[in-house]
């Protein structure tokens, strides 16, 4: 069954099982591999993307549920002003270590700043606690969000 959706501003169509998680549609059908597979259970946040502006776990979001939706992935995250500021801040703070979780971190941080332009420490913790970083780059994630908000 053909399903239409918008990915990073482009209209896309995919023939596929509506039960296939958006994560694997992005990685396998659209070759957008910036979105990462970490746990497959919504526990680590590595697969975070935006669906109609909301940060969601793409491993728990089925293709059939995003019919007609606007998806933003890490590859398109810097298209907005907030996304540009987050990306620049991430580079300035040299946030990544291994880097594997960072796409998800950036997508969560971008959603946070889009909705809460001046987040408090508590706002940051609440918005980011679903995103694991095995290297523990949390000190810099906080700093980079604050710098991008300033």
């Amino acid at each position: 069954m053909a399903i239409s959706l918008t990915v990073n501003g482009k209209k896309r169509q995919v023939e596929g099982d509506p039960a296939k998680p958006l994560l694997w549609v992005l990685r396998e059908d659209f070759d957008l591999v910036g979105t990462k597979f970490g746990c497959g259970a919504g526990l680590c946040g590595a697969c975070t993307v935006h669906v109609d502006g909301q940060a969601v776990r793409s491993c728990q979001t089925l293709l059939g549920d995003v019919k007609g939706a606007a998806i933003t992935t890490i590859e398109g995250a810097a298209a907005t002003d907030v996304g540009k500021r987050i990306a620049a801040s991430w580079i300035a703070q040299d946030v990544p270590q291994c880097g594997y979780c960072q796409a998800g971190q950036i997508m969560s941080a971008t959603a946070l700043l889009s909705q809460t332009p001046k987040p408090t420490d508590e706002d940051i913790d609440a918005a980011m606690m679903g995103n694991l970083c095995r290297c523990s780059t949390y000190v810099r994630i906080r700093a980079a969000i604050k710098a991008a908000a300033a």
């Binding site: 296939k20 998680p21 694997w24 396998e28 070759d31 957008l32 591999v33 910036g34 979105t35 990462k36 597979f37 970490g38 746990c39 497959g40 259970a41 526990l43 680590c44 590595a46 992935t73 890490i74 590859e75 995250a77 810097a78 990306a87 991430w90 580079i91 040299d94 946030v95 990544p96 270590q97 291994c98 880097g99 594997y100 979780c101 960072q102 796409a103 950036i106 940051i124 913790d125 980011m128 606690m129 995103n131 694991l132 970083c133 095995r134 290297c135 523990s136 780059t137 949390y138 000190v139 810099r140 994630i141 906080r142």
Partner: protein
């Protein structure tokens, strides 16, 4: 190129590349390998016609910063600006590149001299070319920013313009090269962000999981839940009949976890499709020999063994019995800790293409040569028929020092010649097929004389082993402190049998031993009426050095004292008693991976829940911090990871030979709200620089439990810390 037949003057070749640039193919002799053959470092430096410089990064990048740090060493001595430099990852080949493993915090000490020599050799050839052109002595010329300058005439020429001439010169003997005076370093000591950071932030395909080839199939692998079970039968045809499934096949392990056990592989164009087919797959395993292993069983056996005689002496000095018989006070305590998984965020994966009797592999591996040897054996291939390419690695922590997933991908690929295969674990596969940090139990005794001085120390360490030897990462060093710092010491081990594969988890051994030794010594200090840093400084004042074995640098007590005094000052140790009730500061010192680290930690405990507020870290890793921003990141990450091992609830348990935990709900990692303030400072000493991936981790755990004791009066003697322990 064979390492053995390189002549002394043949270590450097320079050749022109298309477009008029210069390729330096540098091979600098390093320390002799164990078999006496020279170990060669080969560093590719390419100087392009527009004077840009491309430097090959030869080590695996797991987030430890080697891909940035090693090229910094070359660029420094080549005397170019960092802005001119681009980095390319090399492939894996020990014959060309020398050591390429990422483990043991070994990269910095191994590469500090030869990698700088590689840069200096190229610079010397460019200077010689300019000197010949201008008819002056090479020694009168200077370099900076990728240019050679004659200070007398003010003439200056970019390296690129010297390429043709330099390529014709004989390369220098590395032993004759003069390296820069550290006072003139312009790159070493500067904070330089990760070379891949912009690509990571843009979501570019960098990792093993991202690598794709045309017509590639994805593979999932089912193995026996109990380690070591063998394949009996399966409904392979039923799975083959499912839509989208390309192949279903079996692979045979060799009975060792290192090569991977028996498995059933399902291949499809889509990983999701292949993985879904596992719901249909039904495999009968023969696991009768391995289902008797369980966490409960180990604990019961350990309790029994603790009452008896140990299996092996590790260190026995002085007269331990006499010292305890004459003690004024004897302190005893039992400590323990669980198995842990590595849980790298990028699940284990590997891409392989078998074609025409050779195999090419794209692997996130920390230890490629070990993988090559295992693949050669499994496929019965000569090692030169195996090419291994590095991908960026989504977390190592020691998991990818093992190459089971590489062997498995190779075994699958060999059955579908010409078709590239990417094996990818699910999170549950990853957590249940790890090489675990082994659990351990320690029965401690310490003797104090009437003046409160520590006179004897005894540890009966019950761990896992076979035939009287510890399993991987269950070793106890004969030089484990306080051995060497007092006269009467008995360190001994007993071994339980297990089917669980064990392996090196960041700061292996040390991540557990620091906890039990420094927490027990905190109890000993308290019994003697002093604090732990006072006890440590007393012990450290007795000798200048403690041997750590033939191939390791000795432990230098002055360096330990230096970081202890620094951490105490940073952490306001003298004023710790001023904290309100329910808050406390703890201290610990630990030496591992040639790094000296002392840490002070402040915790607040409310309703049985510890909240770490601040950690102060003082470290000594020698004369230079090569990349300060990365050094800070390594220490921050080590501290938070250590706290996670103690506080997040991490534990791996086994029932009937198989692992119970499958994901981050049952083996949790620290999350952002648990992040304390971390202050880091380094004590620079006149020793060659050593690594930072590991040594900051071990002391944070005992500093935490010692702080919890200061806050609550309760001793934490097993991990993880639970609310019940603090109730």
């Amino acid at each position: 190129m064979s390492a053995a037949n390189l002549s002394r003057r043949g270590f450097i070749t320079a050749s022109l590349i298309a477009g008029g640039g210069l390729l330096f193919d540098l091979a600098v002799p390093m320390a002799l390998a164990a078999d006496g053959s020279p170990v060669i470092l080969n560093a590719f430096i390419r100087i392009l016609p527009d004077n840009r410089v491309i430097i090959g990064a030869k080590n695996a990048e797991i987030g430890q910063g080697a891909k940035t740090m090693l090229p910094m060493l070359i660029a420094e001595e080549l005397d170019v600006d960092w802005a001119q430099v681009s980095i390319e990852q090399t492939h894996a080949d020990a014959k060309i590149f020398g050591g390429q493993s990422a483990g043991g915090s070994r990269t910095t000490p191994r590469e500090w001299l030869p990698t700088r020599q590689a840069g200096a050799a190229a610079r010397a050839m460019l200077v010689a070319a300019a000197a010949a052109q201008w008819g002056v002595a090479a020694g009168t010329l200077t370099t900076a920013s990728g240019k050679v300058t004659d200070p007398k005439t003010g003439k200056s020429v970019p390296y690129a313009a010297l390429a043709v001439a330099a390529a014709k010169l004989s390369p220098p003997d590395p032993a004759t090269l003069t390296l820069k005076d550290p006072a003139s370093f312009r790159i070493i000591g500067q904070s330089i962000g990760g070379v891949d950071t912009p690509a990571i932030v843009a979501g570019k395909p960098l990792f093993g999981i991202d690598f794709k080839l045309p017509n590639m199939l994805y593979a999932v692998l089912e193995t026996c839940p109990a380690f070591g079970g063998t394949f009996k039968s399966a409904n392979l045809d039923a799975v083959r009949a499912l839509p989208g499934i390309a192949h279903v096949l079996t692979i045979k392990g060799d009975g060792t976890p290192e090569s991977g056990f028996d498995g059933v592989a399902i291949l499809a164009k889509s990983w999701w499709t292949a993985n879904l087919a596992r719901e249909t797959l039904k495999v009968a395993w023969d696991d009768s020999a391995v289902t008797n292993f369980s966490t409960q069983g180990y604990a019961a056996q350990a309790a029994t063994r603790a009452q008896g005689k140990a299996d092996a002496d590790i260190t026995r000095t002085g007269d331990i019995d006499a010292a305890f018989a004459s003690a004024g006070k004897v302190v005893t305590a039992d400590y323990s800790y669980p198995f842990l998984a590595h849980a790298t965020l990028e699940p284990q994966n590997c891409t392989a293409l078998f074609k025409d009797g050779a195999i090419e592999i794209w692997a996130p591996t920390q230890n490629p040569e070990s993988g090559r040897a295992l693949v050669a054996k499994a496929l019965n291939l000569p090692p030169e028929k195996i090419r291994i390419n590095f991908t960026r690695i989504g977390g190592g922590f020691g998991r990818r020092l093992m190459n089971d997933y590489m062997v498995q991908a190779a075994l699958v690929a060999a059955q579908v010649p010409g078709v590239p295969v990417k094996l990818l674990f699910t999170r549950a596969d990853d957590m249940r097929r790890d090489f675990y940090r082994p659990a351990g139990w320690h029965g401690f005794r310490a003797a104090l004389d009437k003046s409160g001085a520590l006179t004897a120390f005894h540890d009966h360490f019950i761990t896992f082993g076979k035939d009287g030897k510890p399993v991987r990462s269950a070793e106890l060093s004969p030089g484990e402190l306080p051995a060497g710092l007092l006269d009467n010491v008995l360190l001994e081990q007993s071994f339980l049998a297990t089917n669980m594969p064990t392996g090196w988890l960041r700061a292996p051994g040390s991540n557990a031993l620091a906890f039990v030794y420094q927490a027990f010594l905190d109890e000993v200090a308290a019994a003697a009426g002093k604090d732990l840093p006072t006890l440590m400084l007393e012990l450290l004042s007795k000798t200048a050095q403690v041997s750590q074995g033939a191939n390791r640098p000795p432990f230098v007590t002055a360096r330990a004292k230096g970081v202890i005094e620094k951490a105490l000052a940073m952490g306001g140790w003298a004023n710790r008693k001023a904290l309100p009730k329910g808050q406390g500061k703890g201290f610990a010192f630990y030496y591992s991976h040639a790094g000296y680290f002392a840490e002070v930690l402040e915790v607040a405990v409310a309703d049985g829940v510890p909240k770490v507020k601040t950690v102060w870290v003082a470290g000594d890793v020698g004369s230079h911090i090569i990349n300060p921003i990365n050094a800070l990141h390594q220490v921050q990450g080590s501290v938070i990871e250590g706290l996670g091992q103690a506080l997040a609830g991490q534990v791996i348990t086994q029932v009937a030979g198989a692992i119970e935990q499958a994901n981050f709900d049952t083996h949790p990692l620290q999350r952002i709200p648990d992040t304390p303030t971390i202050h880091v400072d380094f004590v620079k000493t006149d020793y060659s620089p050593t690594g930072l991936g590991e040594p900051a981790l071990p002391p944070v755990i005992p500093a935490l439990v010692n702080a919890i004791h200061a806050a609550t009066g309760k001793r934490i003697r097993s991990l993880p810390v639970t609310t019940e322990m603090l109730a």
